[in-house]
């Protein structure tokens, strides 16, 4: 098959995946309305089924263009959504109480996939310096980091939802469980974000002989990491639980979004050309 044909198949797979994710989102939203657990289960299964064409779409594109889904904005957005949904499914399979986080996570993933269509994929190939295992780790570790961020965000938002006598909040996990998940995934995001920074530093050292250059996006990724570290410190030493921790997590998530999505378009940086 020629590259053009492969890319058509990729687009079809992508749309099929988006359709499943849309249906999953509808079921998760329905769960919000009628708190029927069957809707939650249906949403979860539809997300899982959607992963199959999404995997195919990413794989076909990788094969067709000859590089992983980390170089162009459209690819990165799709890969981020894939990572977030994949992590959600994997963790919620092990801990079913996490399934309700799909209510927040699936719309976020759909938003990423929607943003993908604002940046049409071109046929750019990686520049000479974009090689080596540390570069790959640097670009890929952002996926679990953002996945963990979105799950922690979901736990925070669900925690902050007003608790009423009836309605959906009755079916949600206990607030202290949501808080514990928020803590756990903030920790995971801290690890993965740290790996991303470190892998980037090692790659830069091997490419230009300088592991840190205080480039705007480097600096902001460090700021994001510091804020996450602060949140974890505040939890440990100042007993920030519940609401405080949930709001702090939302703030950290917003900082990470600024670092990844907005900063690259307003500052000159080596990342600007390739980031989201």
């Amino acid at each position: 098959m020629e590259t053009t044909q492969l890319l058509i198949v990729e687009a079809v797979c992508h749309w099929v995946a988006v359709s499943f994710y849309l249906m999953a989102t509808a079921f998760f939203t329905k769960f919000l309305v009628n708190s029927n657990h069957k809707n939650l289960t249906s949403g979860w299964w539809l997300s899982l089924i959607g992963m199959i064409p999404h995997t195919l779409s990413l794989g076909i594109r990788w094969y067709a263009v000859g590089h992983g889904p980390y170089l162009q904005q459209a690819e990165s957005l799709s890969f981020l959504a894939y990572g977030a949904i994949g992590m959600f499914l994997a963790f919620s399979h092990k801990a079913p109480k996490l399934k309700s986080i799909g209510v927040i996570l699936m719309p976020c993933a759909l938003l990423l996939l929607a943003l993908r269509f604002f940046s049409a994929p071109g046929n750019e190939m990686p520049p000479a310096t974009f090689t080596g295992i540390w570069f790959i780790i640097h670009t890929i570790s952002i996926v679990p980091a953002m996945g963990a961020f979105v799950i922690a965000l979901g736990a925070s938002v669900l925690y902050l939802l007003p608790k009423r006598g009836g309605g959906f909040s009755v079916k949600l996990p206990a607030p202290e469980v949501l808080d514990a998940y928020n803590h756990q995934f903030a920790g995971l995001a801290f690890i993965c974000w740290g790996i991303m920074i470190i892998a980037g530093a090692i790659w830069a050292e091997q490419s230009w002989g300088r592991y840190w250059g205080w480039d705007a996006i480097e600096t902001w990724s460090l700021i994001t990491w510091i804020f996450l570290g602060l949140l974890l410190h505040l939890r440990r030493f100042f007993d920030w639980q519940g609401k405080n921790a949930a709001w702090a997590m939302i703030f950290c998530f917003m900082v990470s979004v600024v670092t990844l999505f907005f900063l690259s378009s307003i500052t000159g940086s080596i990342h600007s050309e390739y980031l989201l």
């Binding site: 046929n123 750019e124 190939m125 520049p127 000479a128 310096t129 090689t131 080596g132 206990a174 202290e176 469980v177 808080d179 514990a180 998940y181 803590h183 756990q184 920790g187 995971l188 801290f190 690890i191 740290g194 790996i195 470190i198 530093a201 090692i202 050292e205 091997q206 490419s207 230009w208 002989g209 300088r210 592991y211 840190w212 205080w214 705007a216 600096t219 902001w220 460090l222 700021i223 510091i226 804020f227 570290g229 602060l230 974890l232 410190h233 505040l234 440990r236 030493f237 100042f238 900063l263 500052t267 000159g268």
Partner: protein, 461 residues
């Protein structure tokens, strides 16, 4: 001294220092930094906002990361880390015995119709299946303590040790590092001394960057993707040794050449060096190099405008690396030239390699040579092994800290009239709600195994 240590160990101090570090980072993206901004910008800024600009200069906000207050901040963080590390390690080493159960965690009670021996066996079996290991048993065997993820106690120590290593390595490097940028034209000798660098980045206490190294770049070959974007660049560096011998080392992007502790990197910037010779009737021939940046696509011609040094000639150049394909291999290069001289009509034409064009007043211009140039970075980095150790430790530490929390489960057996009662409690620093559920699951399993109510029994929290 005690006050200082108490200050450095205080969680409030840590939060304050980390917040200050984050704010410094934010300021660095708002205030233009002198390393990455043209000096003209600062001159214009000074003229427009003298007060604000003076404040920025006094606080060195335009050079935040080398300012005294930023280094002091990083130094304080390092001291705080070192103190905290000492006490954390001491606490882990000395407190081998588990602390009493956390009274804030709900206790789970199971009523059991079993003998003590059977019950202990069941507890051990179920806890072993959950990866718990026994830490201690009371003499009568009524109290059992199990632990999980004992390595988790070291997580914080390892993580903070890693961070300390990273900060020390970074400070050491920021004091001594030496980086010199040069543009090397293929087959032209270059002496790596202070006066020849295009620019340098030197540590705070680093001397002028003199390597006393003579070398040249040869066999520079870019490779291309199918869409004509550059894929990689390979070349060789020939070192002219003092004894007259030559050493040849391969160099390519991401694969530096190493010479006496100095790493040479191809910067990724490259292009063509065009040598023109101007023969004037009235003076000696003048040779000049024109360096042109390669285009993103190899098929695109390169253009530039320049004044021929020490003359009135102005050149407008359109360079075709290869007229036959076109390709980047300079086999048939050519330039379309427009030459202007004051008071004379412009002359234009195509000049192939080694061709000569006759100008006004019988002057001549020859395209003498076409070769590649490449940006090369000469780097001396300090403390890299310590830095990499720090990286490894901090990631391993964070992983242990947040994925393997140390959990202690307490099982107290109370003998009642005709049955045994088991109280389960625990202690964990993180994710307490999840730990409570884990203990409830264990209680449920115990109930099913040796419970008085058999399979229908439930544990009570």
């Amino acid at each position: 001294m005690k006050h200082l240590i108490r200050f450095l160990l205080s969680p409030k101090t840590i939060v304050l220092l980390l917040t200050a570090l984050a704010i410094a980072g934010v300021i660095s993206t708002v205030v233009p930094q002198s390393g990455t901004t043209e000096p003209v910008f600062f001159a214009e800024w000074q003229a427009k906002n003298p007060l604000w600009c003076s404040l920025v200069k006094i606080l060195r906000l335009d050079q935040i990361f080398t300012s005294w207050w930023f280094l002091l901040l990083v130094g304080l963080i390092a001291c705080s880390l070192a103190c905290s590390l000492y006490y954390q390690a001491k606490a882990v080493i000395t407190n081998r015995e588990p602390k009493p159960a956390n009274s804030s965690l709900p206790h789970t009670t199971v009523t059991l119709a079993s003998t003590k021996t059977n019950m202990r066996a069941a507890i051990k079996k179920i806890l072993a299946a959950n990866q718990y290991r026994i830490i201690s048993t009371s003499i009568e065997g009524n109290r059992l303590i199990f632990g999980k993820n004992r390595l988790g106690r070291w997580g914080s120590v390892i993580f903070h040790l890693g961070l300390l290593c990273v900060i020390i390595a970074a400070l050491y490097n920021s004091v001594h590092r030496q980086r010199g940028f040069a543009t090397l034209v293929e087959d032209k000798p270059f002496v790596a001394n202070a006066e020849n660098w295009l620019s340098t980045e030197l540590g705070l206490l680093a001397p002028p960057y003199n390597l006393d190294l003579s070398l040249q770049l040869t066999n520079f070959k870019p490779e291309y993707w199918q869409n004509d974007q550059v894929k990689t660049m390979n070349s060789e560096v020939v070192i002219n040794n003092k004894n007259g011998s030559k050493t040849t080392l391969p160099i390519s992007v991401n694969k530096p050449a190493r010479i006496n502790g100095v790493k040479l990197f191809l910067s990724g910037d490259y292009g063509y060096a065009l040598d023109f010779i101007l023969n004037k009737k009235s003076s000696n021939p003048i040779l000049t190099h024109i360096l042109m940046d390669a285009q993103t696509q190899k098929t695109e011609p390169l253009t530039c405008e320049m004044n021929f040094p020490t003359t009135d000639y102005q050149l407008n150049i359109r360079f075709f690396p290869d007229l036959t394909k076109p390709s980047h291999f300079p086999t048939f290069p050519a330039v379309d030239l427009v030459i202007r001289e004051k008071g004379e009509p412009p002359q234009s034409g195509r000049l192939l390699l080694n061709q000569t064009s006759i100008l006004n007043n019988y002057n001549t211009m020859t395209l003498n040579r076409v070769s590649y140039w490449s940006g090369v970075i000469f780097v001396k980095t300090y403390g890299l092994p310590l830095l990499y150790t720090g990286f490894a430790l901090s990631i391993a530490g964070a992983f242990i800290l947040y994925t393997l929390p140390f959990k202690v489960a307490y099982f107290s057996i109370i003998e009642e009239e005709n049955h045994l009662k088991l109280i389960i409690s625990g202690r964990v620093k993180r994710y307490q709600a999840l730990f409570v559920h884990e203990l409830e699951d264990i209680a449920q399993k115990l109930n099913q195994e040796v419970g008085i109510h058999g399979d229908n029994a439930t544990a009570h929290s």
